[in-house]
Amino acid sequence: MIIVTYVKHVPDAEARLSTEGGRIAVDGASFALDGMDEYGVEQAVRWKEAGIAREVVAVALGPAAAETALRTALALGADRAVLIETDDDLDPVAQATPLADAVRRAGADVLFVGGKQADWDSAALGPAVAEALGWPLCDWAIELRVEGTTLEAVHDVDDGVEAWSAPLPAVVTTQQGLNEPRYPTLPNIMKAKRKPFEHVALAGVAARTSTLAAALPSRARRGVRLEGDPAAVAADLVRRLRDEAKAL
C-alpha cells in the first residue's frame, strides 16, 4: 500500500492578524504543519511501521514556504515529499484536480487529508479531492483499520458516530482522536534533510472563488461581572438573562 498524506502550512493559532488591501496579513507569524494534518501523517507512519504501507508520500500545494511543513512530515517518518508550488491563492475546489493528479502519480491507495484547514477554516479539501479522484470518502475518522483490501472506519457524524467501510482506494479526513501524533526527534529532523524532495510547478489553474474583502470583527459584549453568594449570583444571572439579554 502507498499512502499520500496531505500537509498544509498554516500560521500559528495565536498569530497576530491584520488586514491589508482587502486581505488578511499574518505578520511575523510562525508557520507550522496544520495540527489536523498531523493525525494523517501519524497514521500513515504507523501503517508503514506495521508493514501495512510500503511508502508514505507527503504532498503539499502552496508557496515555497510550505517546504517547512513537508520537512516536518519527513521528520515524522514520511519517506518522500512533493511540493506542488504556486503563489496563486487557490480555493480547495480549485486545488482538488492538481492534488488528485499528484495522488495518481504516486500510485496511492489511500489519501489522508486533515479534517479542516486552520487558515481557510474549511473542511472542503478532502471531499473535493475524493470527487476529483472518483474515490469514496471517509470524513472525520476517529478509528481506522485495513482488512485485506477494505478500509474499516468509525467516523463522527452530526448526531453521533457511525461505522463505515469501503474497498481501497479511498480518501480519509483525519482529526483529533484518531491517534496521538508523535513529536519529531532531532536525529529524525536531521535525517529528513536527506530524504527525496520533489518540486512540481503549478500553473494555469483557475480559482473558483476570489476574496474581495477581509475584516477583523470584534463583537461587542456586555462584560457584566457577577460574583459573591452563589444563590444571589444565580438569581441575578437568571433575571439578567431573561430581562436584559432576552435569552431565556
Binding site: 473535493a128 470527487e131 463505515w164
Partner: protein, 320 residues
C-alpha cells in the same frame, strides 16, 4: 435568471431545521423567481416542504434511502442539472460539508463554504465566511456559473407561513457503479434524542474546570437538560475521556452559534473560542477571575462551578 435549488436534509422523517431555514433564504434571494427544493428519497419529507417551495424534486433510486455521500452527490447533481440551478443551498452540517465540495467539483462550480449571509452582486454570488480560526471575516465571490453554498444554521429564520403548494415531481436517479462503494454502517447517537449540536439554540459547554466525568454529568448535562440545550465539551474535557468527540466545540471540533452559550469551567483557549465566538449571549462560569473567556462573555460569573451551577439550576426551576 437565477435558479435556486435547496437540498433538504431530513432526520427521522422530518426536514432538519437548517434545511427549512434555507427555504427562507432561497425565497429572500430568489425575488420573483421560483424556488426548487430537492428531497432525497422521502416522499413524506417532500410533502412537508412543498408548502415552502414552488417545486419539489423527489429524487428516487437505488441506495438513496440511506445514502452515502457519493450517492447523495449523484442525486443532487442530477437535481441541479434538472433544475438548471445557478445556486445550490445546503445546510452546513457534516453531510453538507462532505457533499457540497463534491457537487462543486462534479458540476464545475464554486463552493461558498459555511457562509453566514449570501447576496447577489452584479453577475456573481457573494458570501461572508469566517477564516483563521473564526478570527477574520472574508467576503468571497463565486467565479463559476453555478455556486454551491453551505449555510450556517441560524443565519436565516425558519419559514413562517406556507407560501403555497409546491408541485412534487419524482426524478429517478440511475445508480452509478462507484457511488455504492462506501457503506455506512451502524450509527450510535450521541445521546438521548438531543438536538444536533450545530443547530441548537442553547448550548451548555463544560471544560477542564468541571473536574470529572461524574461532575460533568451532574453539572453540565443536568443544566443542559433543564434548558433543553445541547451538550458541548472542550478539547480538554474530551481528551480527559469525560465526553465523546461528537460533543467537542472548537478548532478541531464543531462550530456553534446558538442564541445562548453557557460555558462551565471553560478557560477559553483560542482554539475553543474559534468554535463558539459567533454565539449570541455568552455566559462564562469560572473560579479563575483571569479566565480568557471572561473577555468574550456577556456575563462573567466568578465562582466555583460546583456551587454556582446547582444554584443556577434552582434559580431556573424557580423561574415562572
Amino acid at each position: 435568471m437565477d435558479v435556486i435549488l435547496v437540498a433538504i436534509e431530513h432526520v427521522d422523517g422530518a426536514p432538519r431545521r437548517g434545511s427549512l431555514e434555507l427555504l427562507s433564504a432561497a425565497r429572500a434571494l430568489a425575488g420573483a423567481e421560483p424556488v426548487t427544493a430537492a428531497v432525497v428519497a422521502d416522499a413524506g419529507v417532500a410533502d412537508a416542504v412543498a408548502p415552502f417551495a414552488d417545486r419539489v424534486l423527489l429524487l428516487e433510486g437505488d441506495g438513496l434511502r440511506a445514502p452515502n455521500h457519493e450517492r447523495r452527490t449523484a442525486a443532487l447533481a442530477a437535481a441541479a442539472r434538472e433544475a438548471g440551478a445557478t445556486l445550490v443551498l445546503m445546510a452546513a452540517g457534516r453531510s453538507g460539508q462532505a457533499v457540497a465540495p463534491r457537487l462543486a467539483v462534479r458540476l464545475g462550480g464554486s463552493l461558498l463554504e459555511d457562509v453566514a449571509g449570501l447576496r447577489r452582486d452584479g453577475g456573481a454570488w457573494l458570501g461572508e465566511r469566517l477564516a483563521y480560526l473564526s478570527r477574520a471575516v472574508l467576503t468571497v465571490r463565486s467565479e463559476a456559473t453555478i455556486a454551491i453554498a453551505t449555510v450556517k444554521a441560524g443565519t436565516y429564520p425558519a419559514p413562517a407561513a406556507a407560501g403555497g403548494r409546491g408541485e412534487v415531481r419524482r426524478v429517478p436517479i440511475a445508480s452509478v457503479v462507484g457511488d455504492d462503494l462506501a457503506r455506512p454502517g451502524e450509527r450510535r447517537a450521541a445521546g438521548r434524542g438531543r438536538v444536533a449540536l450545530e443547530e441548537a439554540e442553547v448550548v451548555v459547554c463544560g471544560g477542564r474546570g468541571v473536574g470529572s466525568a461524574e461532575a460533568f454529568e451532574a453539572l453540565v448535562v443536568g443544566l443542559a437538560d433543564d434548558l433543553g440545550a445541547a451538550v458541548a465539551a472542550t478539547r480538554a474535557a474530551v481528551d480527559a475521556g469525560w465526553r465523546p468527540y461528537a460533543e467537542q466545540v472548537g478548532q478541531t471540533g464543531k462550530s456553534v452559534s446558538p442564541r445562548l452559550y453557557l460555558a462551565v469551567g471553560v478557560s477559553g483557549a483560542v482554539q475553543h473560542v474559534s468554535g463558539m465566538n459567533r454565539s449570541g449571549t455568552v455566559v462564562a462560569i469560572n473560579k479563575d477571575p483571569e479566565a480568557p473567556l471572561f473577555q468574550l462573555a456577556d456575563y462573567a460569573v466568578v465562582g466555583d462551578v460546583h456551587a454556582v451551577v446547582p444554584a443556577l439550576r434552582s434559580a431556573l426551576a424557580g423561574m415562572d
